[in-house]
């Protein structure tokens, strides 16, 4: 049996993001599948919800987000929002230092899972969503979906209802981060064009490996 591969790991609710320290490759695998193959890996440092033991040095998700975004964005001041499967968190950088942060923790309103489930369930291409759909207030994921299906039952198209729902989630995200002119986005929802275009400000996706970049920086500088 070959020696376990040394990796850095961001193990979220839905997916594990992996950086292989031997060959510098990256991979994304479903978290449930990754957890079954734990013995194949030598985890040097980790972040994320889904592993609490045997996971090398643990780094707080917001710390990894801050470090990762600082290594990917050159601006002195910026805000980065991480939209994960389960919750949403952000850090605000001023003069290249963390000046603010928050984490939507209690309610599923923002959860990437809901957005992913809905877009898959309704099987709608992002290009087909209307750009002028009114925003649905999304108090939480379930109440938001109730309003969405209410709209459909009153005769609105599925596309319009979904666009309104995504707007509602994006609006909540913008409220959480304090409505900066430009917003950097991290996490699985970066790949969801419909979601990215639901924001009302310049929104720049950084991809799914921002926390991994943070871990790489922290690991290479041995600041853990």
């Amino acid at each position: 049996m070959s020696a376990p591969s040394p990796i850095l790991l961001d193990c979220g609710t839905g997916y594990a993001k992996i950086f292989n320290l031997e060959d510098s490759t990256r991979a994304i695998v479903p978290a449930r599948r990754f957890i079954k193959k734990l013995s194949e890996y030598d985890i040097k440092a980790s972040t994320g919800h889904n592993l609490s033991s045997g996971a090398g040095v643990r780094v707080n998700e917001l710390v990894a987000l801050a470090e990762g975004s600082l290594s990917m964005v050159d601006e002195p001041d910026f805000t980065v929002l991480d939209c994960g499967a389960r919750d949403v968190k952000y850090v605000q950088i001023r003069n290249r230092r963390v000046a603010g942060m928050d984490w939507n923790t209690e309610c599923g309103a923002f959860a990437g899972q809901v957005v992913e489930l809905l877009t898959r369930y309704l099987d709608i291409e992002p290009e087909n969503l209307p750009s002028d759909a009114p925003r649905i207030p999304v108090v939480c994921g379930v109440l938001g979906m109730t309003s969405m299906f209410d709209m459909i039952s009153k005769g609105k198209s599925h596309e319009e209802a979904l666009a309104g729902f995504l707007r509602g989630v994006a609006f909540n995200c913008e409220t959480l981060v304090g409505r900066p002119d430009r917003l950097y986005l991290s996490g699985g929802l970066c790949d969801n064009k419909a979601f990215v275009s639901a924001f009302t400000r310049e929104t720049i996706p950084l991809g799914r490996f921002v926390l991994i970049e943070g871990l790489r920086k922290i690991y290479s500088e041995k600041i853990i």
């Binding site: 998700e61 917001l62 942060m101 928050d102 984490w103 209690e106």
Partner: protein, 235 residues
């Protein structure tokens, strides 16, 4: 009441967990304060055993509208004897526990227990400079308090409680300026309006928890303490 106590009656703090009496979530709407769910569950549980003579319900500005509404509901629809009381005492007794360097969990236990019992003999309370602040009511899940350094001062309603002035809104809104503070509220509590806006005003962290703290809530508080104090917890 004094007479009842002298005759052997026991007093329970219904806000607190009672041994062997798990909270039954069946008396109030789902989206409701978990402390009040526990209060009501404790009331019915004690009554089932025939061990309940009187409920003393604080219903004034010293508590919240939730308890006033619950007390009225119980009065109207059950035979549970309810005594509605208001505590508008304005004479402060001091708050040395809130400003001491004891572990935050210990401070909270002492304050909560001081409602019915005097402070333990020989307890010395030395004031420390605050590194951090915890604002709010006593949480349902005391585990949250273990995340903080010992030099965390208590603010908000819990400090008012120690001061024996639970209706003192001015004091409830006081925090130490420049000290990183976590503004804690139970989910569905009316005081969340305070917590939310005080956190914005003072650049603190708003934290809302329903029952037990989630992984995300824990990580959020840990990150706040790490960014502000370089504190990575008691390891």
């Amino acid at each position: 009441m004094q007479e009842r106590v002298e005759n052997g009656a026991l007093i329970f703090d219904l806000d607190e967990p009672l041994a062997g009496r798990p909270v039954k979530d069946i008396y109030l709407p789902n989206a409701y304060c978990s402390i009040l769910k526990r209060v009501v569950s404790n009331i019915f549980s004690l009554r089932e055993d025939g061990g309940l003579d009187l409920v003393i319900a604080t219903v004034g500005k010293c508590k919240c509208d939730g308890m006033r509404n619950i007390a009225s509901w119980l009065e109207r629809t059950t035979d549970i004897p309810i005594l509605k009381v208001e505590n508008d005492n304005a004479k402060g007794a001091g708050f040395p526990i809130s400003r001491s360097g004891l572990p935050l969990l210990k401070k909270m236990e002492l304050i909560v227990n001081s409602v019915f019992a005097p402070l333990p003999d020989g307890l010395t309370l030395e004031e420390c400079a605050p590194k951090c602040g915890f604002w709010g009511v006593p949480p349902y899940d005391f585990g949250i308090l273990e995340l903080f350094p010992d030099e965390t001062h208590i603010f908000g309603w819990t400090r008012c409680m120690e001061n024996k002035t639970p209706a003192d809104i001015e004091m409830e809104c006081e925090v130490a300026s420049g000290v990183p503070t976590v503004f804690f509220t139970q989910s569905f509590c009316q005081k969340s309006a305070f917590a939310y806006n005080l956190a914005r005003e003072h650049g603190g962290l708003y934290v809302e928890v329903d029952k037990m703290m989630s992984h995300s809530t824990r990580a959020k508080i840990e990150a706040f303490l790490e960014f502000n104090l370089g504190w990575r917890g008691k390891r």
